[in-house]
């Protein structure tokens, strides 16, 4: 009896191993069902969804104008302090001084892409970009100024 059981167990064991091997062999012969992507080679075809949170950017129009009023909501709401707004005084044509943003400094190395700044921005000045390859050789390169040089605030944005 025990010899019979031993042979039976061995037979069942071999059958179960072959069952798994058959599944592996199936994919070996059916190349079309393999879904692996060759990542660095398919960089151009990568299609990331528009909601993907890659990094914070500030869109500018063709006249080098942005929508940021410098209200500092993004700076207040950021949990890690990755955004810092620096002000300057613009001289208006009528001689008065007007406060405007000089630099909106964004520390990508501290950012956790929680999207709170974009959610809370009252004038839609910043948004999330779909880039994700952020590695650089120097840490200082992760400190970014979001507004372009000599950019101005768009007319009609308060």
């Amino acid at each position: 009896m025990s010899v019979k059981k031993y042979i039976g167990d061995a037979w069942k064991g071999a059958a179960s191993l072959l069952k798994g091997m058959r599944r592996t062999g199936y994919y070996f012969t059916h190349h079309k069902e393999i879904i692996t992507q060759q990542y660095p080679d398919n960089r151009n075809e990568l299609d990331l969804p528009e909601r993907f949170k890659g990094e914070v950017v500030m869109p500018h129009n063709e006249n080098n104008e942005h929508r940021c009023t410098g209200c500092q909501v993004c700076e207040l709401v950021c949990p890690n302090g990755s955004i810092k707004v620096i002000f300057k005084n613009d001289l208006m044509p009528d001689g008065k001084k007007k406060k405007a943003i000089d630099k909106l400094v964004y520390h990508l190395d501290m950012c956790t892409m929680c999207n709170l700044c974009v959610e809370n921005c009252p004038s839609d000045a910043i948004k999330m970009a779909q880039t994700f390859e952020h590695s650089v050789f120097d840490r200082n390169k992760l400190k970014k100024v979001l507004n372009k040089p000599d950019s101005k605030i768009m007319d009609g944005v308060e």
Binding site: S16, K19, R23, L48, P49, R51, K53, C114, N115, L116
Partner: protein, 377 residues
């Protein structure tokens, strides 16, 4: 931390050929910086001491300096495999104090995302545990289905793992227009491929022999160590928070609490595999019945919780997660405490591994489904 002198002391007291072996903090089988100091007699385990603290980021203390809207994102980094469920627990706890009615659409979206996260987490566990046991193929099969879920998350929430999709009062964005179509595609894919799991692992004779009778945890021990989730349910302890303390719309849904009574590694394995099917069942009930309406309730810009204590428990993929907030009436929590499932589940490792063989330790650790950042926080 284990000091050098203690190790020498242990050596000197035994004097009968015991060996102390360190598994981790960097070890491919521990999935994170878990450090186990194992006392061995030959191949038999005499004692296991887990040493924690390698990935302690003081998340509880960090949360005390963040407002009630800000602290939710930090909790994604605790149990990163069920990040959405962690966020869910926190917003539920904050909403207790806000006294705001959550729109039904937001509730359904949250539950749908919870169950998708649960399946993704169990898929990763399934693949990673098989890889620890030496089978490399199941890993890729599990990641194929998990990738489909991650794509759904990416499209609707904007991130694959740390979603940060919950806000007090609802969710951040409405569902993506493609959401229902993509989820139905995933359900179809899962049902077409789920038999491969049985073929590759559940019916494999080597796998069964390595799991059966290994790391037996009795129901009494499971209760006394505070185990929860699939670890306790594998020992026959009914502890599903979704059934016992229903939150959101779980009391209106038809699903079973999976229970196994053997208490060994194979039972815990079976619980998780069957739980995936139950999650599929929940998603099928909800996916065609998402109510119309708002996805977020109107809340005040500056959130202040009234003075008091709030506690909320949810069922994550690993067990019961509790969030305890004490508010002094300001915009930040005065004290916050997380009851993480991983910590209690790890504490039982010494109990179940004593007297076993060191080769079986990987099977036991695999079925406990430890996520180290959740244990250390």
């Amino acid at each position: 931390m284990y000091r050098e002198t203690e190790i020498i002391k242990d050596f000197s007291t035994d004097g009968n050929g015991d060996m102390i072996i360190n598994v981790g903090p960097q070890h491919p089988a521990t999935h994170g910086v878990l450090h186990l100091v194992i006392t061995l007699n030959g191949e038999t385990i005499k004692k296991i001491e887990p040493h924690l603290g390698y990935i302690h980021r003081s998340i509880e203390k960090m949360c005390e300096s963040l407002t009630f809207r800000q602290f939710i994102y930090v909790t994604s980094r605790m149990d990163y495999l069920s990040a959405h469920i962690n966020n869910h627990a926190c917003v539920l706890c904050v909403e207790q104090g806000m006294e705001v009615e959550i729109p039904p659409r937001a509730q359904v979206i949250r539950v749908l995302m919870d169950e998708l996260t649960r399946i993704a987490s169990h898929e990763l566990w399934w693949g990673a545990m098989a890889m620890d046991l030496g089978a490399f193929t199941p890993f890729f099969h599990a990641f194929r289905e998990r990738e489909a879920i991650n794509d759904i998350m990416e499209e609707t929430c904007g991130a694959r793992l740390t979603m940060n999709y919950n806000v007090p009062g609802g969710v951040v964005n409405d569902l993506h227009p493609n959401f229902q179509k993509r989820v139905k595609e995933f359900l179809e894919l899962y049902k077409r491929k789920v038999h491969e799991y049985d073929e590759l692992l559940t019916e494999n004779v080597i796998f069964i022999n390595r799991m059966k009778g290994v790391g037996v945890l009795s129901a009494a021990d499971a209760i006394s160590y505070g185990c929860s989730g699939p670890v306790a349910r594998g020992s026959g302890v009914s502890c599903d928070v979704r059934k016992i303390y229903p939150y959101e719309i779980y009391d209106q849904l038809a699903f079973d609490e999976v229970l196994e009574t053997d208490g060994d590694s194979l039972a815990r394995y079976k619980v998780r595999v069957k739980e995936m099917n139950q999650s599929i069942k929940i998603i099928e009930q909800l996916i065609d019945n998402i109510p119309e309406g708002d996805f977020v309730a109107k809340t005040k810009n500056v959130l202040k919780l009234p003075k008091g204590e709030y506690y909320q428990r949810v069922e994550t993929a690993r067990g019961e997660l509790g969030v305890y907030i004490i508010s002094e009436g300001s915009t930040m929590p005065y004290r916050i405490k997380f009851r993480s499932p991983g910590f209690s589940n790890l504490s039982v490792l010494d109990k179940i591994a004593r007297g076993g063989k060191i080769a079986d330790l990987i099977a036991m650790m695999g079925t406990l489904d430890l996520v180290i950042p959740d244990i250390d926080r």
